[in-house]
């Protein structure tokens, strides 16, 4: 019998995270040490954006102090140094998600990555129609009568680019529905995905419901239909071990600012054979082989998709962030955050007048919880929590169709990261318990 490491044996091999370790981790995050409204900051908005550890801040500073130059051009010392750390950072991120170096494309964020894919796919049909580029573009391109399939739980970033792709190409957009517990209706998915489906795009973990979607099953349905599979890894890559090759998705995107890095940097993974034939989205300097007065030829991936001067210090900082997460151990981070998520939901469920979105306590969820407070608008809930130093997100969390599906317009969301303690969750729960009496409902 082959030796497999079950979660149980893993647990024994690697000690789980605890509050004591989190308190040490917090020392690496200067921003977390402050008082807000006279109270210690309880930061529970990492689902929107995360905080940076010193190692990340220093990596960016060191780049500017010692190596700043444009990459891939010029033969001088600094340019060589800058290019080296920039490309090393790419390798670090490729390793972080189990991809190959040339399959790892820098973007400004996940939103740009998803737009890149959607524009490259409509460009593919334009190119194919004019006999330009590789013969495979004809099958990759999206056109009239084709289907693009997303889910009801998508963030606008993984929804609007597909609406617009449908608009540009005459394809139709279809939705895999969710059930009332916030899980995808896989029976419906199997019916919806068919021969006409060209793209299946879905989120790995929901930024509102906390659900982790069954990637393998969805990929299998996508494969059966012959569709390209696009994974929105915004809420997974920062929080759990992710291997894009094992998941066998065609594309994956995520944002650096949600994984301990600065804003302005994101990652697009694409399978090499697809990236190398896809037409670019943005065009310009640094991504060409030859340019004549009326035409250009393009480099292979990743440069093919990196037009213009790149975000170098941010890429370097993102690599430092990935190293920080890898050193802590993403399996441990995931387990810790799951515990925090369960604590949130169990606590919220015990407060009268609270409706938690997504899976109930005891069911798998990531370390976040969005909820509705009966009789109090989310904005007021957020303001009340802020007065106690607790930072949460309020609104529709860029998922309006999902909120409408749930019969709500705005909710409050608490989202944890590796630097949150169980005390943070308890402070949050205690404050939420006081909301309705403060607003006299």
């Amino acid at each position: 019998m082959a030796l497999v490491s079950t979660p149980a044996t893993l647990e024994r091999a690697v000690p789980a995270m605890d509050n004591a370790e989190v308190l040490r981790i917090r020392n690496d995050f200067p921003v977390l040490g402050q008082l807000v409204n006279g109270q210690p900051l309880v930061y529970l908005d990492s689902g929107a954006t995360s905080q940076n550890p010193l190692s990340v801040i220093e990596a960016e500073q060191e780049f500017y102090e010692q190596r700043n130059a444009a990459v891939h051009r010029g033969a001088h010392y600094l340019a060589v140094e800058a290019t080296e750390v920039f490309e090393d950072a790419r390798q670090t991120i490729a390793d972080f998600i189990g991809a190959d170096y040339a399959e790892t494309v820098w973007t400004s964020n996940a939103t740009e990555g998803l737009n890149l894919i959607s524009y490259a796919l409509s460009n593919a049909s334009l190119w194919a129609a004019q006999g330009r580029g590789d013969g495979r573009l004809k099958e990759l391109g999206v056109g009239p009568g084709d289907q693009i399939v997303v889910t009801e739980m998508e963030h606008h970033a993984n929804l609007i680019p597909w609406q617009e792709l449908a608009f540009r190409t005459g394809a139709t957009l279809r939705y895999i529905p969710i059930d009332d517990a916030g899980a995808l209706r896989m029976d419906r998915a199997a019916e919806i995905l068919g021969q006409k489906t060209k793209v299946l795009a879905f989120t790995h973990a929901s930024n509102v419901l906390g659900t982790i979607n069954p990637v393998q099953e969805l990929v299998a349905l996508g494969r059966r239909a012959g569709a390209l599979v696009v994974l929105d890894a915004c809420q997974s890559a920062p929080h759990l071990p992710l291997n894009v090759k094992e998941l066998d998705v065609d594309f994956a995107v995520f944002s650096g600012h949600k994984m301990l890095a600065p804003t302005g940097i994101g990652v697009l993974y694409g399978k090499q054979d697809i990236l190398d034939v896809l037409p670019p989205f943005l065009t310009g300097g640094s991504m060409i082989t030859t340019v004549t007065m009326d035409r250009a030829e393009y480099l292979p991936a990743p440069q093919r998709f990196e037009a213009g001067t790149q975000r170098i210090s941010q890429a370097v900082a993102l690599a430092a962030a990935a190293n920080y997460l890898t050193e802590t151990g993403l399996d441990r981070v995931h387990r810790w955050e799951s515990e925090l998520g369960q604590r949130m939901v169990a606590g919220l469920e015990s407060i009268p007048g609270i409706r938690v979105l997504g899976p109930t306590a005891g069911h798998e969820r990531i370390g976040l919880a969005a909820f509705h407070v009966d009789g109090v608008h989310a904005h007021d809930v957020g303001q009340f929590l802020d007065s106690r130093g607790i930072a949460v997100r309020v609104g529709h969390h860029c998922a309006q169709p999902l909120h409408r599906r749930l019969g709500l317009t705005a909710t409050t969301r608490a989202s944890a990261y590796l630097y949150n303690t169980t005390d943070d969750v308890d402070a949050f729960l205690e404050a939420v318990a006081g909301v309705r009496s403060y607003f006299r409902v």
């Binding site: 109090v376 608008h377 989310a378 904005h379 007021d380 303001q383 009340f384 007065s387 309020v394 609104g395 529709h396 309006q400 909120h403 317009t409 705005a410 403060y438 607003f439 006299r440």
Partner: protein, 149 residues
């Protein structure tokens, strides 16, 4: 600044008992000129649709439908109570004063003589993220007035 200065009792009361709320149930006076405006806050999804009926140069009635936080709902309620019976010019002036206070980041104080219950929103000016909530129905009223006159 404490939370209680933001959520004054007047605001909490108006957010629950909403004056002028219910477009369908309140008919505009026959013969009045009406204007209607729908305003959205895309950040949080707050929404107000407000109708102004003008008769003989005076605001005969304000009615509205909306969904949003206590600040936005109370503000619409206070506005509709305050505006009724004012001349169109008076209401325009009051809207201007309210906007000035709210955009002042707390530097301009609200005069209850002019603003009535709306002076309670003075505290909102210190919460930049909430100014839009307090303004949404007033912006709708301004727009509706322009249509009705």
């Amino acid at each position: 600044m404490s939370l209680d200065q933001l959520y004054q009792q007047i605001i909490l009361d108006h957010s629950k008992v909403r004056h002028g709320s219910g477009l369908a149930g309140i008919a505009a006076p026959a013969g009045a000129f009406t204007g209607q405006s729908r305003q959205l806050n895309p950040v949080c999804g707050d929404e107000v649709t407000l109708r102004v009926a003008v008769e003989g140069g005076k605001v005969a009635q304000i009615s509205w439908d909306g969904e949003g936080c206590s600040i936005s709902m109370a503000s619409a309620s206070v506005l509709s109570e305050l505006a009724e019976g004012m001349t169109v010019d008076e209401l325009r002036a009051v809207i201007g004063t309210f906007r000035e206070v709210l955009r002042s980041r707390g530097k301009v104080h609200a005069d209850p003589e002019i603003l009535g219950d709306a002076a309670a929103f003075e505290g909102v000016a210190r919460y930049a993220a909430r100014v839009k909530c307090a303004m949404i129905s007033w912006v709708a009223a301004e727009d509706a007035l322009n249509q009705a006159t």
